[in-house]
């Protein structure tokens, strides 16, 4: 196993550095999101469009295959290819040759499998729209591995649309999965999904303008330092979840009545002119420019934005923060299930997990990844092991909450109320 990571961490490009250099990525992502979204509406019956986008996404595997052909390792019969859908900028990349990923290349080298890795997921709902018709019809979606946030993963598993992972093939996943992520109510046997990365939602702010903020109550105060410069995330689970925590309620047990209470509470801040906007990823831009100074944010985003504005800070609120996890799932009927299991096992190797975490800077679900990062030769990378937002301790994790797995009716109700609150 060890022969696979000779050049680990020799590439110094991290996700942050890449983002810093490509301010326009957001625009591209926006356009891509529009494109994908339109596709899912107009032509939702054609999930096979995704693989055909191969050319534009820049397959890492095309360049990697020659070395694979040279030394195929004799293992139980991994398939010739693996179709892997993930979110943008969510895996390590090679500096000199950006679309290439050391992790994916390593997999190809080890198993001789060409990985068709596509950054096809920009939003859970949109992506689900593209695979739903095939799943419903009992057909192969064209994907062997997809990454979905826990609530969507729960939905897909609940519908019976996820393959059961044969854990005999994934010993490292069994051994190294973080304890706090095991045995979710929606995956009691721990064999329908494997966490990819986790992240936290809490308070993001410009400490130079608003000082140190630790309470969610600040988002409701018409303080002249931040009135009209506050944003809330347009992700329903993050914003409603944090508001429920402010109200002293548990987001993991939210009812429709709780939803109404949270909506009424947020409305006060909106009508009072404190909250300016509901935003997705683009809050980062406003935060850096100074149009926004305080709001609800994702941990990894703020770490990235600190490079452009050192006074930015992220705190888990005193009332508690939200934690979420994106999970790898094997869609029902996947053509290369065994190979997908090999991939799950592979990324649960702590050394590989450290390689991914050092680049994406979210919370790795793999035990041992912290130690692996700390041993890195580059002191800047090794220092990440002390980053509390990447490797939160038990006390930090104890202050984070998960959102309830909503039923279809609840989901519709919550989303509807939240949309109306945002004016659409």
């Amino acid at each position: 196993m060890s022969e696979q990571h000779p050049s680990l961490f020799s590439r110094t490009l991290t996700r942050r550095r890449l983002l810093r250099g490509t301010a326009l990525t957001g625009v591209a992502a926006f356009l891509a999101a529009c494109g994908t979204a339109a596709q899912s509406v107009v032509q939702s019956a054609a999930p096979s469009v995704a693989p055909s986008e191969a050319g534009s996404a820049g397959p890492p595997s095309a360049a990697a295959s020659p070395s694979a052909a040279a030394s195929p390792t004799p293992v139980p019969s991994p398939a010739a290819e693996l179709n892997f859908a993930n979110w943008p900028l969510y895996i390590d990349q090679d500096t000199s040759n950006p679309p290439k990923s050391p992790t994916l290349d390593g997999f190809t080298k080890k198993f001789g499998t060409k990985v068709n890795y596509r950054e096809s997921i920009n939003a859970n709902e949109d992506f689900f729209g593209t695979i739903r018709p095939a799943l419903q019809a009992g057909q192969d979606t064209g994907w062997d591995l997809v990454v979905l946030t826990d609530w969507m993963a729960a939905k897909v598993i609940g519908l019976g649309w996820a393959e059961t992972i044969d854990t005999a093939n994934t010993p490292q996943f069994v051994a190294n999965e973080a304890d706090n992520l095991r045995n979710q109510s929606w995956d009691p046997d721990n064999n329908k999904r494997a966490p990819w990365q986790s992240g936290m939602t809490g308070l993001g702010f410009d400490a130079k303008v608003v000082g140190e903020q630790t309470s969610l109550a600040a988002l409701w105060q018409a303080d002249p330092r931040w009135k009209g410069k506050v944003w809330l995330l347009n992700e329903m689970r993050d914003t409603i979840g944090l508001t429920l925590l402010k109200l002293g309620k548990d987001p993991a047990a939210a009812t429709n009545a709780d939803c109404d209470a949270a909506i009424a509470e947020i409305k006060k801040a909106v009508d009072g002119g404190v909250v300016r906007s509901f935003l997705g990823n683009d809050y980062k831009e406003g935060l850096i420019k100074g149009d926004l100074v305080l709001g609800t944010a994702w941990s990894g985003d703020v770490i990235q934005a600190q490079l452009e504005k050192a006074s930015l800070k992220f705190n888990i609120p005193s009332e508690g923060g939200m934690i979420w996890t994106d999970n790898m799932l094997i869609p029902k009927g996947a053509a290369h299930k065994y190979t997908a299991e090999l991939m799950i096992d592979y990324v649960y190797d702590p050394v590989i997990a450290a390689q991914i975490a050092a680049y994406v800077q979210y919370v790795s679900p793999v035990k041992g990844s912290k130690e692996a990062i700390a041993k890195n030769a580059d002191p800047a990378v090794a220092a990440l092991a002390k980053n509390a937002l990447m490797f939160p301790d038990a006390a930090t994790l104890g202050r984070t909450h998960i959102f309830k797995a909503l039923s279809a009716d609840e989901d519709k109700y919550f989303n509807d109320q939240f949309s109306t609150l945002q004016g659409n």
Binding site: A37, E125, K289, G290, D291, D416, S419, G423
Partner: protein, 291 residues
């Protein structure tokens, strides 16, 4: 080939129309029918949708639930159209009558921004109009506006954004109709003791009406359905337009029936508005005589 064409001369116009008709059928008629059908659906993405004529309440529900956004869209689009007209007319007039050698250069400058992506232009306005940006930064340090004054996330930002983005659609048609005016008519008017203002009012402006009519439609109709400006410059619940609602119903809430019904309400509303406008302005004859 020529002989063949001559023999079947009568089918040539149809052959010429075919590509356009196919385009229209695939990208307009088919999606519209599809949308119309889905506006009578009920159900959910997970459970599946079912069609029933009794779901006509999708229309009334949509109308009553989103009347604020519909009224706001009409208001924003109308305000932006007026603003665009007020900027475009003097601009087109100057280019048509006063620009001399610079005419082509000025026309080029009107469309030059179109060489940049629409989204990039809107996003740069976010930088220009920022709370401490190029415009407000100096005004704030000079003490001309209050520290908490802002343009972004207000209706002014959205209306200005729409007006900016549709400027060429108003300017070019007005320019074309002004350019076509026979200068001898103006000379004749002045020979008959018309004041310059009188000549403008009686000759230039009426003859520019077809251009104004076309420009207004080209601005107002897309502005009604616009959602990018409200999404990127407005970004606040109080500036959401009907386009934002349709987008969010479709893509965030997977509420295809309501989204489809709202699209048809918007389409019908615009058709009625345009019909009334054409009636009032009575430019149909002008259009045909000028064209």
């Amino acid at each position: 080939m020529t002989a063949l064409l001559r023999r079947y001369k009568s089918i040539v116009p149809y052959l010429l129309l075919t590509p356009g008709l196919i385009w229209l059928a695939i990208f307009y008629v088919y999606p519209s029918v599809q949308m119309f059908i889905s506006s009578f659906w009920s159900g959910s993405l997970e459970g599946g949708f079912t069609f029933s004529l009794s779901n006509i309440h999708n229309y009334t529900d949509g109308l009553s639930r989103y009347q604020d956004q519909i009224i706001r869209s009409v208001f924003f689009a109308a305000a932006a159209t007026v603003a665009t007209f007020l900027i475009s007319f003097p601009l087109a007039y100057t280019i048509a009558f006063r620009a001399g050698h610079y005419k082509n250069l000025l026309l080029f400058l009107v469309i030059a921004p179109f060489f940049t992506s629409f989204l990039l232009r809107v996003i740069s306005w976010r930088t220009i109009l920022g709370d401490d940006g190029l415009l407000l930064g100096p005004l704030k340090s000079a003490g001309l506006v209050g520290d908490d004054f802002r343009i972004l996330a207000t209706p002014v930002a959205v209306i200005s954004g729409i007006a900016y983005n549709f400027l060429p659609f108003m300017t070019l048609p007005i320019y074309v109709s002004l350019e076509k005016i026979d200068k001898r008519l103006l000379e004749a008017g002045q020979d008959l003791y018309a004041s310059p203002w009188g000549a403008f009012r009686k000759i230039t402006f009426p003859l520019a009406l077809p251009g104004i009519f076309a420009g207004t439609l080209l601005t107002f109709i897309p502005a009604m359905g616009d959602y990018v400006n409200a999404e990127l410059l407005g970004q606040t619940p109080a500036t959401k337009m009907i386009g934002n609602v349709v987008q969010s119903r479709f893509l965030v809430n997977n509420d295809y029936p309501t989204a489809a019904a709202l699209s048809f309400i918007l389409m019908a509303g615009i058709l009625v508005a345009v019909a009334v406008y054409a009636r009032l302005l009575g430019t149909e004859e002008l259009m045909s005589s000028a064209g």
